[in-house]
Amino acid sequence: MKTVKIYGPGCKRCEATEAMVREAGEKLGIELDVEKVTDARSIAMAGVMSTPGISVDGKLVHAGGLPDEASLTNWLSA
């Protein structure tokens, strides 16, 4: 079980990122607890300046733009 947070104010790309994360989790057979963080203040507090940002188990792994599928697999299975 991994906790994944997706930081973004709710733009299209943030939703696309969430879908990608869920899909990658299913494909890898990893149970994910996906949480969306949409509040600007919390996004900034996490150190994310360009959205969407992704953190896995509290560690920030990505900020800005759609993630790459291969990297996503790496982050989730690390």
């Binding site: 930081y7 104010p9 733009c11 203040r41 994310v48 300046m49 900020a63 800005g64 299975s77």
Partner: protein, 352 residues
């Protein structure tokens, strides 16, 4: 973890050479099509049962020429910009600007504002990230003003639709306004007008991201992604802008234009700003209007003032910034930038 990470995915991966060849082929095709736009628009206009030199005929010709032209330019500019900007990120920019109190921190911030990829939807986290990392407020404003004001889409379209002279003037003055407005606001000591929670905020974890090792193909993909996202979002504004431009081109008499937006009418510059600020569109939507206005003899200063206020100051952006700035600070921000725009407008109306 027993999962095999190397399992081939369903979607087949195009080899690298496919991307390079594809981009070159697309560029050649783009150029060939672009050169045929005048005959194409004349052909489309001839399909309508109206005289070519009637009001409606002129408007249709303007529309049929500008729609494919602006959309093609927009696609090309957004792609190239997307690829170039993949070498920059808000994180890198913040590291460059942090602690720069010197005067040249401002022009540097303005340059980086143009080069750094960021969308207005993340301007709040970006603003907080900058300010909490110790970047002076004025420098942050220079960054935020320059981004939209002298964006590549606006400049590229201005160059292609109106000409290089006006595009260069716009570049120099837009850039100067961003720099000088930042300096002025930096001198005013406005930190106390931030929203309380921003002032109390200690820099969050700076988010040391692993350096993205992007391949060239990865950068091309980012460019393509940008095209899909931005062109998909702004095409409607482009059509609206061109329709308005076509209306002006076909129907507004030159005498009327000279009276309202001519160089003689001093009040036309402030009026252009007052009309422009609440207007919400983007560079790609406003430049066809600018093209038509200039074509009908509107004064350059008035038109520049209109264009700058539409692009650089927008109500939705202010509402986003309201989360971090007090109303008072927003008012100062609008006042300083408007003053710069007014000065530019008056200067050109008097000089020319």
């Amino acid at each position: 973890m027993t999962t095999d990470v190397t399992t081939p995915r369903q979607r087949p991966h195009a080899p690298d050479w496919f991307w390079y060849v594809g981009v070159i082929a697309a560029a050649v095709l783009w150029w060939l099509v672009y050169r045929q736009l005048i005959p194409f628009s004349e052909w489309v206009t001839a399909l309508f049962p109206v005289a070519r030199d009637s009001h409606l005929g002129e408007a249709i010709a303007f529309f049929a020429y500008d729609v494919p032209k602006v959309l093609m330019l927009l696609t090309g500019i957004v792609f190239v910009t997307g690829v170039l900007r993949s070498w920059f990120s808000p994180e890198k920019t913040r590291a460059i600007l942090a602690g720069r109190n010197e005067i040249w921190g401002y022009p540097l911030a303005a340059i980086l504002g143009v080069l750094t990829p960021f969308c207005s939807c993340s301007s709040v986290p970006l603003f907080i990230g900058f300010v909490s990392a110790g970047i002076p407020l004025g420098v942050t404003f220079s960054f935020l003003i320059a981004g939209p004001m002298v964006g590549p889409v606006g400049l590229g379209l201005l160059y292609a639709l109106v000409g290089w002279k006006i595009a260069s003037i716009y570049l120099v003055f837009g850039f100067s306004i961003a720099t000088v407005a930042g300096i002025i606001m930096g001198r005013m000591g406005l930190e106390r007008h931030l929203q309380d929670w921003v002032r109390e905020l200690n820099a969050g974890p700076t988010g040391d991201l692993p350096e993205d090792r992007l391949t060239m193909v990865g950068r091309l993909k980012i460019g393509l992604e940008q095209v899909r996202e931005i062109v998909g979002k702004v095409w409607i504004w482009v059509l609206i802008g061109i329709a308005i431009g076509a209306g002006i081109h076909g129907y507004v008499p030159e005498a009327l234009m000279l009276r309202i937006m001519g160089g003689e009418a001093w009040w036309s510059v402030p009026a252009a700003v007052v009309v422009g600020v609440p207007m919400y569109t983007n560079a790609a939507g406003v430049i066809p209007i600018v093209e038509a206005l200039l074509g009908k003899g509107a004064a350059l200063g008035t038109t520049l003032a209109f264009m700058m206020s539409v692009i650089a100051l927008s109500l939705p952006e202010m509402i986003i910034l309201k989360q971090v700035l007090t109303l008072r600070l927003i008012a100062i921000f609008i006042a300083v930038v408007s003053a710069g725009i007014l000065a530019t407008g008056f200067l050109f109306n008097f000089l020319l």
